[in-house]
Symmetry: C2
Subunit: 607 residues, 2 copies
């Protein structure tokens, strides 16, 4: 990449000049608060995705009409200015891509624009920091120890010990994060750096236990380049797929060195909003001690999956075997000579089948609907390789740049960007897919053939990243049965077509409900319904009902319940979107006005 | 920096062409094994510093005669080739500086050359890796979890648990490192990545305790940019001067996530070399359990300072107060209303005086000889700023590049590079130095006015990086007495001139002996004398007796005791030189021949 200095030497190419002129004119229209003129600079089909900079929301508006409405509502108080390219623009297939920075009244931001026929086709604006509230880093990092004698000085350790003693007792946190997995930890780290007093509440004994406590063969299915946390990257020798205990140790150490206020062995038992004080009353049990926290803001980071889905089958009381949900599966030990039926055919189902087969169990997987399967190699090379890989790093695409590129693709058309990848994969791995189908396994590539990420973003389920179980299915080592499970007999589980599957153990790898289920548990059903379904884009595809929302429902942005937030997702999302949620919380902590444009409505109250 | 691709486009400048031609001709002479011809390409005054690549040693040879001798002895088996510039050369003040890579029969290396009048003035060659034994990182990182089902597979955790159970019991480590501070940890991390079975033995309870156990006000006097460990850098928000407990936590975290075999609560009680088996017998007490480790290689990483120097004064038995060495100083608490005499005037003495003054003690510092004092700001800006600072990072000088630049300056003439820095500092901080002298404090800038680093490299003492105590001395808040201490009375300590300093507590901040003192303790005096003095360059300046050695005596390189090594130094040295020591140990582990050129002789047997 060239530096901006290199750009000012008169050697500016056509694409760069076009982009520069475009931004100047757009800024000019916005300075005049002429929303209509600015909107006219967008293509008939266009997408402006804003991450907190203009909308105090995570929001995509579409086409000139959407842009105009958004700008009408926001220009007067946002005051955007200072749009500047950060590197030369690039042109490919008639599309000019340009990276830029800008300012608003209260913050600084960065963005990416794609120009087509002189207008903006996609436009991303993302808030980076709040003026006067920048993170203390680089040249502004803390000194650590003042080089001056002072009888009243407190050491770093003394100040930290005071904080640990007081926060939650004599001083109330501004934010409480319920759940201390990677999501809560990443957000907690950002808030710590932003100086927002925060407590993370986690029921397990140690940070990382949410991973350690799972079955022993578990490793991340996403590769290391996709999984970095903010601030401290995994080292160069870190394995491609983090084994669960190793990831657990990393999270524990991260929590320590980032000095998070992490309350382990602590369970949030209830939460109510106190209208009078404008704070939450969060009752927690901290290792036996009952106390009430009174934060302004409450973040649910309990895992983007909600509570386990467990089918309600008749006859379970007479079944002599064992039944548990995948979240409770202890691993294959103890089931060496057992007959096991695993209900479900996504990641967990496959992992559990593979582990059971490895110890010698007799395993049948019940596939209720088709599954998108992706070989690990194809995930690394085709699905992620351009953005998250050693190749990407060598091409100058570091984690931040990859995150920004990914964020700059509007969800509405992301499937179009994704489809060609899976067309390639289907061809390259044709033999593999054919063999799976020959073994009776139903394959899909998503309702519009758009593959893994769209399934993840729309429904968070419906796929398997193959780490070995597919070959077992192909070889008949793991049997596949198709259909819905209907009832138990004394020693078997029955399918709707009457097939009887003898079982000593039945594992429900049947997924999870929506995250607002946790709200129902912690607060009440009314609040859960008021917040509505969490996750999904509203694509009107299976398990992602419309209407179109255009962003992940309720994630990282204001909900219909004031001062209640949802945070989570995979490691990539926890890393990137924790910044935008942290900035929203920081603004509220500093009492910076945050008028929300286009707050999402609730269309699905189900829990 | 431009990339090599940019260099091949015909746009090569004169300096780059000169450097390229120089390297080609030098390589050609070496390929012909014509040591004389190669030596002729060096200036009459010149320095070739080799870090393990040619000499299997850390060695600087001087002038054409030194180069010729070294090449005569090494060319035939080293087989250097493939010298290539990695970026365009740069010319300044008639000196062309060029960065390059090269190969040997067994390894790959990197280097920096400075050309003057067509010949090499300084030449650095440093081994980077051994062919076929590269660290598994980047594209070659471990997979973490194989994507294939296998009944015999072991998880990462299971393999790690087996290692922890077996190493030191059913399997012997190749290397034992005695001492688990930052030095042992950095070396251990490198050896772990190189696949050399290693155990680190540390008497404290936890990694980092060597820092935690010191007095509470302690923070690193070197700034964060200078202090990174290999593999995982401190994050951008890390304080400039690491407070001791925070550094302790970082070291503990690092030890865990780098999966070092770190035996805490373990003391090495004796070590003998077993001629028959060619291994060491190291007796250790591991938390009460006595056992014998039998490594090939034994590394002393007990701190570059040896055992505490304690003056032997008459009358101590009648002194009614308390006496301890600075290494045992618990901090100021409990001495609030006491009279304290601190003997010594270097870093520890000042820190201890400052802490005692802060709690209200009556403090006198006894200065026995002059001290080099450097203000923190001047250290950051002038002494380190070009290489280790945010400014350096912004200029593209990352830690590795800074380390290589620093390593490329031959010790013989490093004082000439350093002197101008301190000429500047003396001028800028003139008022400060004058005020200190007015307060009766004796200042120096080193015997040749070359300042802090030369003092550190030559003797490891004689300086104070001012973190506040100097102002106390200037203000008379901490009294200064000058001269040698001679004896105790019942309630005071006496100076040679008869001055009586009443004291409830006397702290000896009198430094440490040579590191081979640890050898005397662990093995025997004979072995300690055979190894000889550790540290110092042989500059024939105070506390660094000649003859000239040209490298730090006995550090990170073969000693006169086979299979015995010394490792340590500040965080910068622990980071950088751990690579070269690790490669020497790895080569021995893999039984790659390692003929040592110019093994250092012993001139000082003192312990």
């Amino acid at each position: 990449m060239s530096s901006p200095e290199q750009m000012s030497d008169g050697d500016i190419d056509q694409a760069t000049e076009t982009a520069q002129t475009y931004l100047e004119e757009l800024e000019d229209a916005m300075r005049r608060e002429d929303a209509a003129a600015a909107a006219e600079m967008f293509c008939a089909e266009s997408y402006w995705r804003d991450l907190v900079a203009f909308t105090w929301n995570i929001k995509t508006v579409e086409n000139p009409s959407g842009v105009e409405d958004m700008l009408e509502e926001t220009l007067a108080h946002i005051g955007p200015s200072g749009f500047e390219l950060t590197e030369p623009a690039e042109e490919e297939d008639g599309i000019i891509t340009a990276w830029f920075t800008f300012e608003t009244e209260v913050g600084r931001g960065e963005g990416v624009v794609r120009l087509k026929d002189g207008g903006a086709w996609t436009f991303l604006t993302a808030l980076t920091e709040l003026k006067g509230h920048e993170e203390p880093k680089g040249r502004d990092r803390p000194i650590g120890a003042e080089p001056v004698a002072d009888p009243d000085r407190k050491t770093w350790t003394e100040r930290r010990e005071e904080e640990l003693e007081n926060l939650g007792y004599t001083e109330q946190p501004h934010t409480v994060i319920v759940g201390g997995g990677q999501g809560g930890i990443a957000l907690g780290a950002r808030l710590r750096q932003l100086g927002v007093p925060t407590i993370i509440v986690e029921k397990n004994d140690r940070p990382g236990d949410s991973w350690r406590n799972r079955y022993k063969g578990l490793a991340l299915h996403d590769p290391v380049w996709y999984d970095h946390l903010p601030y401290i990257k995994f080292p160069d020798n870190w394995p491609v797929f983090s084994p669960k205990d190793k990831l657990g140790d990393w999270l524990e150490m991260y929590t320590r060195v980032m000095e998070l206020n992490y309350w382990s062995k602590t369970e949030a038992t209830s939460a109510q909003y106190d209208e009078e004080t404008g704070t939450w009353e969060v009752e927690v049990n901290r290792d036996g001690e009952e106390l009430v926290l009174r934060p302004q803001e409450l973040v649910m980071a309990t895992g983007m999956s909600g509570k386990p889905n467990v089918p309600d089958l008749s006859g379970e009381e007479r079944f002599s075997g064992e039944v548990h949900h995948s979240s409770e599966h202890p691993g294959p030990e103890g089931y060496e000579d057992k007959s096991v039926v695993v209900v479900g055919s996504n990641n967990s189902a496959h992992d559990i089948c593979e582990g059971l087969w490895e110890v010698g169990a007799d395993v049948t997987m019940v596939q209720r609907s088709s599954t998108h399967v992706l070989k690990t190699d194809s995930l690394l090379e085709h699905a992620l390789g351009d953005l998250y890989s050693e190749r990407a790093v060598e091409n100058g695409i570091d984690t931040h740049r990859a995150d920004m590129i990914f964020a700059s693709l509007p969800y509405r058309i992301m499937n179009e960007f994704q489809k060609p990848i899976y067309d390639t994969v289907r061809e390259i791995d044709a033999d593999f897919y054919e063999a799976l189908e020959d073994a009776g396994f139903m394959i899909d590539f998503g309702p519009d053939e758009s593959g893994l990420f769209m399934k993840y973003l729309r429904r968070g389920s419906g796929y398997y990243i193959d780490t070995g179980a597919s070959q077992l299915i192909i070889d008949g080592e793991v049997a596949v049965a198709r259909g819905q499970v209907t009832e138990f007999t004394e020693d078997a589980i029955l399918l709707e077509d009457g097939t009887e599957l003898p079982a000593d153990l039945v594992v429900y790898a049947t997924g999870y409900g929506s995250m607002n289920g946790w709200v129902a548990g912690l607060m009440d059903e009314e609040t859960a319904r008021q917040a509505g379904k969490v996750w999904g884009l509203g694509s009107d595809t299976p398990k992602d009902p419309g209407p179109w929302e255009g962003e992940q429902r309720n994630m990282w942005k204001p909900t219909q319940v004031e001062q209640l937030w949802f945070h989570g997702g995979n490691l990539h999302q926890s890393r990137h979107y924790s910044l935008y949620l942290a900035l929203q919380l920081k603004a509220r902590y500093e009492e910076i006005p945050t008028p929300v444009y286009g707050r999402q409505e609730v269309h699905h109250e189900g829990i």
